[in-house]
């Protein structure tokens, strides 16, 4: 065993990178679920965002246009879900699964010309002054903009849900759509916007994998991250900061266990390999011992005349 081989600065830095795609996708899904919509298509929107972002970044040479295209791509794909569940009143679970399958297939088709291509690098943001602080500065202030944006987004979503009138309306729609409708709020419109926001976030998360974390395009490269994001929203009991804790725990332990393996720590590898799942679940379950519960209208179909 040689723990000194693990560099804590690099460990913490790669932890944040590993957590960001999950965090982005989960934050988007949180808003959708708070509005009462269960969208199981996160994986499909992520992978679609991954290829949209990758292709655009390669073609234009700009990672920023890539990230923009990724969120637009995710949002466009989520419009399909809007049409199915909000206009055609289809079952949300089935529509979400269909969206995942569709996204995986469509991205594989679009990505055929991009296998083995190298994307333009996403520059790190060296915040003047702050990044020169020893240790802390290197860990916290030398990442790319999207990583910081994901944290800011969590804060904004938290503020939005907690202290704004629009956030209150969104929650009302998610708790009791009939009452919200009776008060004159446009349930379908609000839910549609929430779904599109979720799609944009998932697309951004996908592009973070294909442009920063790996960086390359491979078919099926999200490999289940979308499903982890979905589970995370539930275990975080629909609270933004808990989603952040969960994502960093999961990403962090995933990277940490690989580090421990490489350093030859005498813990059986099977336990290390399952530790991210177990520890994340245990911590979030302990955190949510209070009266946390799902939005009351989650997954239910709203029809104005019923």
């Amino acid at each position: 065993m040689d723990l000194s081989a693990i560099n804590p600065i690099l460990l913490l830095a790669s932890l944040m990178v590993a957590a960001t795609p999950i965090l982005l996708a989960a934050t988007g899904e949180l808003i959708a679920e708070k509005a009462g919509v269960l969208n199981l298509g996160v994986e499909g929107m992520m992978i679609f965002g991954a290829i949209c972002g990758f292709a655009t970044a390669v073609e234009t040479g700009s990672p920023w246009l890539g990230f923009l295209a990724a969120s637009v791509g995710g949002a466009v794909l989520s419009l399909l879900f809007v049409i199915l569940t909000q206009l055609a009143l289809a079952n949300q679970v089935a529509s979400g699964l269909a969206l995942t399958l569709f996204g995986l297939g469509l991205s594989a088709l679009l990505g055929q010309g991009y296998v083995g291509v190298k994307p333009p690098p996403t520059p790190d943001l060296h915040i003047p002054g702050l990044s020169q602080i020893p240790f802390v500065g290197e860990i916290l202030f030398t990442h790319d903009v999207v990583l910081y944006f994901s944290i800011v987004l969590v804060a904004l979503v938290w503020l939005f849900l907690r202290s704004t009138r629009a956030g209150l309306i969104l929650r009302a729609v998610g708790e009791n759509h009939d009452a919200a409708h009776a008060l004159g709020y446009k349930v379908v419109l609000i839910r549609s916007l929430a779904i599109v926001f979720g799609g944009a976030c998932a697309g951004l998360g996908g592009a973070y994998i294909s442009l920063v974390r790996v960086p390359q395009w491979t078919e099926g490269m999200t490999a289940g991250v979308g499903w982890i994001a979905l589970a995370l929203v539930v275990f975080a009991s629909w609270r933004p900061w808990r989603v952040l804790i969960g994502a960093y725990l999961f990403g962090g332990i995933t990277v940490l266990q690989l580090n421990l393996q490489a350093a030859g720590v005498a813990i059986p590898v099977e336990y290390l390999a399952m530790s991210p799942y177990i520890i994340t679940i245990v911590v979030l379950v302990l955190l949510s011992r209070d009266k946390a519960r799902a939005p009351a209208a989650l997954g239910r179909i709203f029809h104005a005349s019923s």
């Binding site: 083995g116 994998i209 099926g220 490999a223 350093a263």
Partner: protein, 358 residues
């Protein structure tokens, strides 16, 4: 009439009807893959083999495939569906498809099955694999010569004999040319998960490795090594030449096409028999991708000499004296490993740190 016999007679009736419609003229060949065909590695090469069958026999065959099939019960479902769909020959191309293949083969005695990298056979189930460890020895030679930090990182998938064999072969070859070299091994517990594979590569690089060997299917570790800079890698299963000349300095290429064509021919001629094939560099099932200019000429020469010597049968990558990790004697001086031990290999050789997960 119970439900099963009803089902059987329905299938027979369907078969007769289909036979009458002359649909039986074509030989149907099915494939199930563990990853997507676009993985750029393992599954990609199996799909190249499938396309070679179509190329060879044209209209006389019809091939189908299902990709990204999970190892386990899901595989059994897909295989059953394929067999019911009239497949004559089915290739199952991942170690974890072993038990599903055997189970489904029992239910369809007239369908021929070919399982890659496994060890369970039946009258209608053959197994086939390639001696990847021969290629690993060539990689190990280059790795041992090229490393400056003397730390070689190895990304394992699952702790099965095939992967352990590859680690041992690479390690022995690396130690033979560089007595100070050490291996750091990380188990990803997946065949295909680009993000995780990239993480594993990054972790190994952060801990000092300047050579990365991978036994997972995607090109993600190559991308991670490229981003890190001064690190070399090897293509796995496929040439991965898009990452040449650096980081990818050479590769192991799985060449399944000749075998797939031969077995399809056997089914067409009615001469198919259950068999067990384990071919290496000599038969062409294991190819060594071009060694790039990033490798010094004398190292390249050494690696190619080893390759030729293995192909000619003069060198066996596991030639004694070799001790097991615990120090006990495995092979005496000059003794070579028998296939039985290699196929069930569940131990590290002396000098590798760490233990194999159960």
């Amino acid at each position: 009439m119970n439900r099963r016999s009803l089902l059987t007679s329905a299938i027979v009736a369907f078969g007769l009807a289909a036979g009458g419609a002359a649909a039986q003229d074509k030989t149907k060949v099915g494939f199930i893959y563990v990853g997507p065909v676009g993985d750029g590695g393992w599954t990609y090469e199996h799909n190249v083999g499938r396309l070679a069958i179509e190329e060879e026999f044209g209209d006389a065959v019809e091939t189908t495939y299902v990709e990204s099939v999970a190892e386990g019960p899901d595989a059994e479902r897909v295989l059953t569906q394929m067999a019911l769909g009239g497949a004559d020959l089915i290739f199952t191309t991942s170690f974890g498809f072993m038990d599903p293949t055997i189970n489904v083969a029992k239910k369809f005695p007239d369908v021929k099955f070919e399982h890659a990298t496994g060890y369970k056979r039946a009258d209608n189930v053959s197994t086939y694999s390639a001696r990847f460890y021969e290629g690993r020895a060539v990689q190990g030679t280059i790795a041992g010569e090229m490393t400056e930090s003397n730390i070689v990182g190895y990304i394992g998938s699952y702790p099965i004999p095939e992967v352990i064999r590859g680690i041992n072969a690479a390690f022995l070859a690396a130690r033979a040319v560089n007595p100070d070299v050490e291996f750091k091994i990380v188990w990803a517990y997946t065949w295909f998960d680009p993000a995780k594979e990239a993480d594993a590569a990054k972790v190994l690089i952060e801990q000092g490795a300047d050579v990365i060997l991978q036994h997972t299917d995607s090109t993600a570790p190559q991308a991670a090594a490229q981003a890190a800079g001064n690190v070399i890698t090897f293509g796995q299963a496929s040439d991965m030449s898009e990452y040449a000349p650096r980081p990818r300095v050479s590769s192991i290429i799985d060449n399944w096409a000749p075998y797939y064509i031969e077995r399809t021919k056997a089914v067409m001629d009615g001469t198919w028999e259950s068999s067990d094939v384990w071919h290496g560099i000599n038969e062409g099932m294991v190819g060594i991708g071009e060694i790039s200019d990033a490798v010094p000429a004398e190292v390249k020469e050494k690696a190619l000499a080893l390759k030729d010597s293995i192909a000619a049968g003069e060198t066996h990558p596991f030639t004694g004296p070799i001790n097991k990790q615990d120090g006990s004697v495995w092979l005496e001086d000059g003794e070579t490993a028998d296939d039985g031990t290699l196929l069930g290999m569940n131990f590290y050789v002396e000098g590798i740190e760490g233990s194999i997960p159960n």
